[in-house]
Symmetry: C2
Subunit: 358 residues, 2 copies
């Protein structure tokens, strides 16, 4: 199974530097001062290089929300009871959550994947079956403050499950995917993964998540420290990192990112948990980062260190800290606007406008 | 005529604090951790208080691009020849400019207003007539480095023209307006207005605009300094400020903002030039600021000082510096998303999700 993952990773190539250059030449002709739309140009040019085209297109948008439960909640790290993971999945499927609304607004489909929720969600009709995918690796991770969160095989399986779910969406014509997450307690494994890769301390990496108080933050820092101490994950072995201090939905996100890179479409990373998945993806395949866009800067304080490590600048900074994929979904609109600018703004010649004098 | 303007300003009231409070209570019930979507909540609640409703709606979007020419270009302050003002207006109307594309993308109508272009644009068909409005106050301003840019009457006229154009759009059902500008040389009067209100020096306020070099920036700083020195505009008399160092499109933008406040709809301020218009609007009517949203942080270095003076935090920061209304148009999408979240996300009760434990 690990060989299967290795083969997929070997199939990932860097983005196309020739097309990147040609895209820059196109931007230079647009009827505006040089690069006057700033990052919109950077975005559209990179999409060109990702999609190997000078007609970048992200009109077929998919949000994939990976959900899982976490043994670490035993340590008192979350403000919400564990049953909320399933309850929120139900809410996503009913279309009433933040991610449901923002996805509808940006014209993105939503898919919700059970990567390892403790109870089962049973879809009741065709509509629910179209949104919900069951890819359960196990019924929640183990408490990583006491030992590995999952087996090495389970870690590989979670990445492959994420890969395959994304592959299926892409084969249906999707040309951009935003990653999302749901899992009570999942800022704690994300913090641990953040510590492993950025080298920051648990004190820097841990934040209030869904809104724990100072006492809760102390417990959370202690849990992360204990988890790192007990498990001693090796950063050079990202599967080990995921298995020792990760989560099933984090593995799913990593796999989803790798699938986007493999299939040459852009992937929009949401906030703290999705970025933890991106850290695993980068460690498995450094060039996967070229396919990533950072949707937004989360309010979770450790997020910025993770983004810095990845070398990504977030598109939005709106004080959001919900997860679910909300920041990524909203940012897909910016990326789409950038592609429209690239494709539709006239050149100086076409518009009959005088160019700069000096 | 000045009395007419005064009467309109007297008709502007602050936003509704009761509805603001009720909107906050609604947000607190949404199925997510408290205020987890950050500024999206702040935005939707303010729209409620602006529109006097708990069903905020910004689906009917209008971008109004105010265009004018500037005598100050004699001082060598712009990288583009003056004829480009008209050429770009033509491009807006053909639908090929940055603002055309971004407006289409966000579902906003575009209107282009000749507030004082030197040559005339003659619309050729019904379609062009629907987009283009002729409200010419004069054929370009005078060189304000040598004396007032316009008469006091012309300043009042430009504000009233902007007011009336926006009023017409609102009477057609528009529920959010983004301001835009076109005018070769117009970062120079905007810088001068910025100096008057923020108290910053010309050195801080002046930037490269459409892309002048260091030599050009020196000329531009000198022009602003000369203009302020020759005209000595009194900040307590915003009509005087506009007449002495302003522009017709800047007056139009100020009037448009006042009309939005008068008619209780939100107004999205674009970048540097639009924000200069907002400074005039604020000086005429301080509570008009409550109706403003700052679309984005322009790359023009003086912009942030203006925004700080207004007390507005920009929604986007994407390195844009095109003007035309592009930053405002793109940001209307964020505001629209915020309203959808407010209206469509379920409450904890509706979703059947457990609330926070502590």
């Amino acid at each position: 199974m690990e060989q299967e993952l290795k083969n997929l990773i070997d199939g990932i190539s860097p983005i196309d530097s020739d097309i990147f250059q040609k895209a820059k030449e196109h931007t230079a002709q647009l009827v505006m001062p040089p690069r006057a739309l700033g990052r919109l140009h950077d975005i559209s040019e990179r999409i060109c290089a990702i999609q190997r085209t000078l007609r970048p297109d992200v009109s077929k948008k998919q949000v994939i929300v990976f959900a899982g439960d976490h043994g670490i909640v035993e340590e008192g790290v979350s403000a919400f009871p564990q049953v909320v993971t399933l309850e929120m999945v139900r809410c996503f499927i009913k279309g009433g959550a933040g991610i449901s609304v923002i996805s509808r607004f940006v014209g993105a489909k939503v898919m919700v994947v059970d990567m390892g929720i403790i109870p089962d969600f049973i879809p009741e009709n065709q509509e629910e079956k179209a949104i919900f995918k069951e890819k359960k690796v196990a019924r929640g991770t183990k408490n990583f403050a006491k030992g590995p969160a999952m087996t090495r095989n389970e870690a590989v399986q979670s990445i492959l499950n994420g890969f395959n779910i994304a592959k299926e969406a892409i084969s249906n014509g999707i040309n951009i995917i935003a990653t999302g997450d749901m899992g009570i307690g999942n800022t704690t494994p994300s913090s641990a993964i953040g510590c492993v890769y950025t080298g920051e301390s648990a004190e820097v990496m841990v934040g209030p998540g869904t809104g724990i108080d100072q006492e809760g933050i102390k417990k959370k820092i202690a849990a992360v420290k204990k988890g790192l101490d007990v498990n001693k994950p090796d950063p050079n072995d990202p599967i080990e990192v995921l298995s020792k201090v990760g989560g099933f939905e984090i593995g799913g996100i990593a796999g989803c990112i790798l699938a986007c890179a493999y299939h040459k479409i852009p992937v929009m990373i949401d906030g703290f948990i999705s970025t933890a998945g991106a850290l695993i993806a980068k460690a498995l395949c450094p060039s996967s980062v070229e396919y990533m866009f950072a949707g937004h800067k989360s309010e979770e304080p450790g997020h910025i260190a993770m983004l810095k490590y990845l070398g990504l600048t977030p598109l939005l900074d709106l004080g959001m800290r919900l997860g679910e994929g909300t920041g990524g979904a909203l940012a897909m609109n910016i990326v789409d606007a950038a592609c429209h600018v690239f494709n539709e703004v006239m050149t100086f010649d076409q518009a009959g406008v005088h160019e700069k004098e000096n």
